[in-house]
């Protein structure tokens, strides 16, 4: 009963501090709000709402053409070059959401625009581009001159060029295959017949082509119920990351009340009553546990409403929530057992909590680079926050309960070890 009284007193203190409330609720939501704005929408938006920035491109088409036949029968100009077709593709309505293109007359002008940061990428189509496309001649590679700090925009530009060049290549490949096939069959083809076959091939290719080729995408098991988009994943993982980061912060701040009460003398007065130090510790632990659980519930509800984040089923959430709450509480008591004054606590907040929290968040920060994110997920498992984040990600992904229970078991193991060390050190101090 006394433990409950201590817990209620601490809870009242936590939830009447405006500053504490801001740190528990406002800041994590603000940070995810920042991510929402950064990536252009909420997870309830359509999948394509993920905002890919428009890349500023400056294009110099120096293609000399010199082709033997009309490359684009759909227009009236027989002198249309492969460079014209590529330039037209860049300026087409289909790509306005990806690239903003300005045309210049020379390669130098294009490069200067990038050097002066007026454009992010320069596309320089060489004089031999048509020759390269039609005959496969060397020296026809398109130059992509880019700002060295960028990867995404230039990557999109390269993909557009590659796709366009692939269309010409497919015709060349077809011609080579046809000639070889006919020769093998002992047939000497006339140029007209080859031209007819090529035309038929082009018509068929255009008819059947779509952006995914022949791929039929299926979601992996347990993710099939989700209509998730990349944006939804980014926001959900960011929210889980921020929640875990600040819950462990709350756990440590809650445990700091032990030092504060010790400095103010109230703890010593409490020990003069018949309250055992173990009861005090239980009360403190209970207060931190309840505070962190309330914090997580509020953050989950608020983020579900504000950002449309789907957290998963009630039972898996409860498992992740309770194990995280327990671990955050034990983490706080463990850290505080090494400190003597609240002044030292500053170093713990700034150093240990921030450092371990950021280790857990490495995978969130590196989401944009797949290989880095994979490594980040492994690094995160060296700290309890990483396991907590993993548990919430498993809940959101609808992973099997067995896998979630493994993460919860690891969290509980962390909890047991940290609580035992913390309690022993505290008991020794107050003996």
């Amino acid at each position: 009963m006394k433990a409950l009284d201590i817990a209620l007193k601490d809870l009242r203190h936590s939830f009447t501090s405006l500053f504490g409330l801001m740190f528990m609720f406002a800041i994590p939501l603000l940070m995810v709000g920042l991510f929402t704005v950064a990536f252009g929408g909420t997870s309830t938006s359509k999948p394509q709402a993920f905002s890919i920035p428009v890349t500023k491109v400056v294009l110099a088409n120096l293609d000399a053409g010199d082709q033997t036949h009309d490359l684009d029968p759909t227009d009236t100009d027989p002198s249309t070059t492969a460079g014209d077709i590529l330039a037209h593709l860049f300026t087409s309505d289909e790509l306005t959401s990806l690239v903003a293109v300005t045309t210049v007359a020379s390669a130098d002008e294009a490069r200067t625009a990038v050097d002066k940061r007026m454009a992010e990428v320069a596309v320089i189509i060489p004089p031999a581009f048509t020759k390269a496309c039609v005959e496969g001649a060397a020296g026809g590679a398109v130059e992509v001159y880019q700002d060295p700090t960028l990867t995404l925009g230039p990557g999109i530009v390269r993909a557009i060029i590659s796709q366009s060049v692939d269309e010409f290549t497919s015709v060349r490949v077809m011609q080579a295959t046809l000639t070889k096939g006919l020769t093998t069959a002992g047939i000497a083809p006339s140029p007209e017949k080859v031209a007819q076959a090529v035309q038929r091939f082009i018509n068929e290719t255009i008819k059947t082509q779509n952006t995914s080729g022949s791929l039929e995408v299926e979601a992996p098991p347990m993710k099939q119920q989700k209509s998730a988009s990349i944006l939804a994943t980014i926001l959900a993982v960011s929210m889980a990351g921020m929640m875990v980061f600040y819950v462990f912060y709350t756990g440590t701040a809650g445990a700091e009340s032990i030092l504060l009460e010790q400095e103010q003398g109230t703890l010593q007065r409490l020990f003069t009553t018949r309250t055992a130090p173990t009861t005090v510790m239980q009360g403190k632990m209970l207060a931190i546990l309840l505070t962190t659980i309330i914090q997580m519930i509020v953050l989950m509800l608020a983020s579900a409403l504000a950002f449309g984040i789907r957290w998963g089923g009630i039972l898996p959430i409860a498992i992740a929530l309770v194990s995280t709450g327990l671990c955050a509480s034990a983490f706080g008591i463990f850290l505080m057992s090494f400190l003597k004054t609240t002044r030292q606590a500053g170093v713990v907040f700034g150093g240990v909590v921030t450092a371990t929290g950021m280790l857990a968040l490495v995978s969130v920060f590196t989401m944009s680079v797949p290989s880095a994110a994979r490594l980040g997920q492994q690094i995160a498992l060296f700290v309890p926050q990483g396991w907590s984040l993993l548990a919430f990600r498993q809940v959101m992904d609808g992973a099997p309960v067995g896998r979630l229970l493994t993460s919860a078991a690891v969290l509980l193991a962390w909890t047991a070890v940290m609580f035992l060390i913390g309690r022993t050190r505290m008991a020794r101090r107050f003996a």
Binding site: M31, Q146, M174, T177, L182, G346, G351, S371
Partner: protein, 410 residues
């Protein structure tokens, strides 16, 4: 007592607290190494391409063709799975062991020969960035695969049309075996195409200098983040002085109010400058980030960044009522300025509107100015605008701190 004496006193206090060295020096170095490694630091971090599995009959020509076409991919690489069982393959994608599995259906090429357009089932989580990247690359490669099928078909039709009649069914002029040969010939032709794009950079540095093993972005980013985090102890000194009434006693001395502020500001400036210089030297000498390529530009950015960060520290110290508030303000500002500046997620990955907003914040100016030196290979003139803006902000923050201090001490 002068402002200089106060500065010395503050610096002694900071140095006495050796634990603060942890987040002034050790943490930024550790996180620079960590993020640098995650983003492919240390030169060659191994094969970072996404792992995919091509499943189905491995003896089938389509299987070999797809594997061949994927060989030249810079995005994905094929791996051999532990089990070829359908459920195990699907689970391996769910568990993140591989990014995608492409299944070549039995008799895929025979169906193509018969005129059908069979699909290639691909198990991939398109809600993840890995999944989307792999899907996009696989789609491109599959277009080439299907183009090879169409080339073989077109060859079959041409042979049928041009070959002498061999009975009522002219298609027999081109057997399935010949179709496979034509398909394989097309795949071989696809593999031998010249590279369509040549990439060049707007930089005066070589590729090795520019990338510095992946640290060229993480080093300035972590410097920004932890220079703000490092303010916790320095700002805490002002709070502690106020709480212990040392500040009130200071005001009874001949040291003026601006002098007190100047003393504290100089201490913070010295701390942040020393921190940044040590981090710059570490990154330049150990990680080979090109800060020393244009030393004056680096020094100018470091001085202006220091002026700005120290001004933030002064304001935090003045407005914070307790040490906890000081810590919280430092952490919030660290997160907001580093996040907006692109320290964690480079701004190129964010939306256009966000980029415009973020580029108007001091964090972005600092990172951009350093990147002008270490990645673009530019000199002093390239950092002048950022430096001017940082100084203007520093002055504005210092004025705010002075006004607040005057009201507090009135």
């Amino acid at each position: 007592m002068s402002a200089f004496d106060l500065m010395i006193k503050d610096l002694r206090q900071i140095l006495r607290d050796r634990k603060s060295l942890m987040f002034i020096l050790i943490m930024p170095i550790a996180f620079t190494l960590l993020f640098g490694f995650a983003f492919g630091g240390y030169g060659s971090p191994g094969d970072t391409r996404l792992q995919i599995v091509v499943a189905g009959d491995s003896a089938a020509p389509a299987h070999a063709a797809l594997t061949d076409l994927l060989e030249s991919s810079t995005v994905v690489r094929t791996v051999t799975p532990a089990s070829l069982d359908d459920e195990a393959l699907r689970a391996s994608v769910r568990d993140g062991k591989v990014t995608a599995v492409v299944l070549i259906p039995t008799g895929f090429l025979r169906s193509c020969y018969d005129g059908a357009d069979p699909v290639l089932p691909c198990i991939v989580d398109v809600a993840s960035s890995n999944g989307t990247t792999a899907r996009s690359e696989l789609a491109n490669v599959c277009i080439r695969l299907m183009n090879a099928v169409q080339a073989a078909r077109a060859t079959a039709v041409a042979v049928r049309d041009l070959a002498p009649s061999s009975g009522p069914d002219k298609l027999s002029a081109f057997t399935f075996e010949q179709f496979v040969t034509a398909f394989e010939s097309a795949i071989a032709a696809w593999k031998n195409q010249p590279v369509p794009v040549a990439v060049t950079m707007s930089s005066k540095l070589t590729e090795e200098q520019r990338n510095a093993g992946g640290f060229a972005h993480t080093s300035p980013s972590m410097m920004l983040q932890f220079s703000i985090a490092g303010l916790m102890s320095a700002a805490g000194i002002i709070v502690e002085e106020r709480k212990s009434r040392t500040l009130a006693r200071l005001m009874t001395t001949r040291l003026s109010r601006p002098g007190i502020l100047l003393g504290h500001y100089l201490a913070m400036f010295t701390q942040v400058f020393a921190q940044l210089v040590m981090l710059v030297l570490f990154a330049a000498l150990v990680l080979h980030v090109q800060y020393l390529h244009a030393p004056f530009a680096t020094l100018l950015v470091t001085l202006c960044s220091t002026a700005f960060v120290a001004a933030i520290g002064l304001l935090i110290g003045i407005v914070s009522r307790s040490e906890e508030q000081g810590i919280a303000f430092s952490l919030i500002l660290m997160f907001v300025l580093a996040g907006l500046g692109g320290a964690w997620v480079p701004l190129q990955f964010t939306g256009t509107a966000f980029q415009k907003l973020a580029r108007a914040t001091p964090g972005a100016w600092i990172i951009n100015a350093y990147e002008n030196v270490v990645q673009r290979g530019l000199g002093v003139s390239s950092v002048l605008l950022s430096c001017t803006l940082l100084l203007v902000c520093a002055i504005a923050l210092a004025v705010l701190a002075a006004l607040r201090f005057r009201r507090q001490s009135a």
